[in-house]
C-alpha cells in the first residue's frame, strides 16, 4: 500500500473515530477539506476546489524568496487587489500539493502570510477566489535543502 494512501486511511480512520467518540463534532470532521489536501497534483487540487485551471491574473501578488535556504520554512505571502473570498497556496512538487487555504470574510483584507514546507524546487501557486471565480499567480522557488523528510 503506498504511503500516501496509508496516511489517507489513517486520517479517515482517525476522523471517523474522533467524530463517533464525540471528540470533534461531525461538522468539524467534515469541514477540513480532506479531498483537496489529498490532491497529489495541481489538477487534482483545482478539481477539489471546484475549478478548472484558473486563469493567471496580474492582480494577485506573491511575495516569496527566489531561493529558500531551508525547505522546511519558506515564507510565502499572497495579496490581491481583488476582493478575495478564499486564498490558497499550492506547491506543485509537494507530495500533498495544497499547502493551505484561507477563508476571508468581508472586512478582512485580501492578504495572508505564512510559512510552508517545500520538498524540492518547485512552482508555487497563489490562488484567489473572487466573485466566485478562481484566479492565480505563480513563482518558482528554488530549494537548496528539502523540507519534507529527514
Amino acid at each position: 500500500m503506498n504511503l500516501h494512501r496509508r496516511n489517507l486511511l489513517q486520517f479517515t480512520a482517525i476522523f471517523t473515530l474522533m467524530a463517533s467518540a464525540g471528540l470533534i463534532t461531525e461538522a468539524q470532521a467534515e469541514e477540513w477539506n480532506k479531498a483537496a489536501f489529498e490532491g497529489k497534483s495541481l489538477d487534482e487540487v483545482f478539481k477539489a476546489l471546484g475549478t478548472s485551471t484558473p486563469e493567471k491574473s496580474s492582480l494577485i501578488s506573491m511575495n516569496a524568496p527566489d531561493i529558500a535556504e531551508n525547505g522546511a520554512v519558506v515564507p510565502v505571502s499572497i495579496s490581491s487587489n481583488l476582493k478575495a473570498q478564499q486564498i490558497a497556496i499550492l506547491v506543485e512538487k509537494n507530495p500533498s500539493t495544497l499547502a493551505a487555504q484561507f477563508f476571508i470574510p468581508a472586512g478582512t483584507e485580501s492578504f495572508v502570510s505564512t510559512r510552508i514546507k517545500m520538498a524540492q524546487t518547485s512552482n508555487v501557486f497563489g490562488l484567489v477566489k473572487a466573485d466566485g471565480k478562481w484566479l492565480m499567480t505563480s513563482k518558482e522557488i528554488k530549494v537548496t535543502l528539502g523540507g519534507c523528510g529527514g
Binding site: S77, K117, G149
Partner: protein, 102 residues
Amino acid sequence: MGDPMRIRAAETNGVVDVKILMKHDMESGQRKDASGKLIPAWFITMVNVKAQGKDVFNAEFGSAVSKDPFLNFKYKGSKGDKLLVSWIDLRGDKRTDEATVS
C-alpha cells in the same frame, strides 16, 4: 490542550494587523524516525480567528505548513477588539488563546 500561541495585534487607521505564532510540531507524516519507521502525521488542520465574536479569518492547513505555524492577516477593526484564536489538529487536540488589539 496544546501549548500557548503568541498573538500580536495592532490597529492603524482602522486596520488591525494580526500576527499569530502557534506552537505545534506539525508532523507531515513524511519523516522517518531513527529506526526507519514513518512518524505519523500530526498537524493543525483548522484555525479560526474571531474579533468581538465575529469570524475575521479561517484557515485550513495541510501537511506542508511549517512547524510552529505562523499566520499574518489584516482586518477592519479597532483598538480594544477582543481576539479569540482557536485551532484543532488531526488528533482532535485543541487550543484557544485570547488577545486584545493594541
